[in-house]
């Protein structure tokens, strides 16, 4: 019997294009995203549930919601 793979969604940031404005941080209801040292946003995969609020808010549209293996 094959092991069950739980698929969950999570936010992924294109760090190279991120402007570190922090708009995503303000809208995340779980506090799962932070701006690391003023360089780029960083998602905590343990907290993120992939709701997509950050992706909608990101002015540079550099956040995507993708399936992530739990």
């Amino acid at each position: 019997m094959e092991p069950r793979i739980r698929i969950r969604r999570s936010a992924f940031v294109d760090a190279a294009s991120c402007v570190a404005c922090g708009c995503c941080v303000k809208v995340c209801p779980l506090g799962a995203i932070s701006v690391f040292r003023g360089v780029a946003a960083n998602v905590d995969p343990k907290k993120c549930v992939g709701c997509g609020k950050c992706a909608r808010e990101c002015p540079a549209s550099v956040i995507v919601i993708q399936e992530a293996q739990a």
Binding site: V19, C23, V25, R37, G38, C58, P59, A60, S61
Partner: protein, 191 residues
């Protein structure tokens, strides 16, 4: 989410823009928007100003978000490219130093005070109603006119991109944001 005191800094940004219509000398207060982000990025190595305290960003978020004055479309790829962001920063700095040079000329007495606000670096708008004379040198007023031109121009650009794209599209190419991010990158390379 619970609102904090710094979520209301947009009130100061709006007041600043309004005050410039009544007394141009208030434009000097805009220097806070230049020095605070630089001090935070240099001393702490973060973009704390953009992330929390930028009243202009909050104003765009309010107008474009809550008031719905934004199409909420993706910003074009070229506008978020490094070439455009760094190029815009360089252009902005050149125009800023030109403004400082003009101020120096007025201080030196080589040029008369021009009571105009230059919008988008080209449109010279008469602004004499906001100048009532001053105890200080006319150069002080010249800097205020020049600096208010910078602030008004960036606000107008921000409002245009807010309408066309996402509310805080200005943050993508904001020269202060680009500059503080460069400082943070440099600082993090050190450590």
């Amino acid at each position: 989410m619970k609102k904090r005191w710094y979520d209301y800094i947009w009130v100061f940004s709006l007041t600043y823009l309004i005050l410039g219509f009544f007394n141009i000398l208030f434009a000097w207060l805009g220097l806070l928007c230049f020095f605070i982000p630089l001090i935070i990025s240099v001393s702490r190595g973060t973009k704390g100003y953009c992330n929390r305290y930028c009243g202009r960003g909050q104003l765009f978020a309010l107008l474009g978000g809550r008031f719905g004055l934004s199409r909420r479309r993706d910003i074009p790829g070229w506008m978020k490219s490094k070439g455009f962001r760094y190029g815009f920063l360089a252009f902005f700095l050149v125009m800023f130093f030109l403004m400082l040079w003009n101020t120096c000329l007025v201080f030196a007495g080589a040029r008369d005070l021009k009571q105009v606000v230059t919008l988008l670096w080209t449109l010279k708008l008469p602004w004499h109603w906001a100048y009532h004379g001053t105890l200080f040198h006319p150069g002080v007023a010249q800097f205020a006119f020049g600096f208010y031109s910078v602030m008004l121009t960036s606000t107008v650009l921000g409002l245009i991109t807010m309408l066309l794209f996402k509310p805080r599209s200005w943050c993508v190419y904001c020269p202060m944001g680009t500059m503080t991010q460069l400082i943070c990158k440099a600082k993090n390379r050190e450590t």
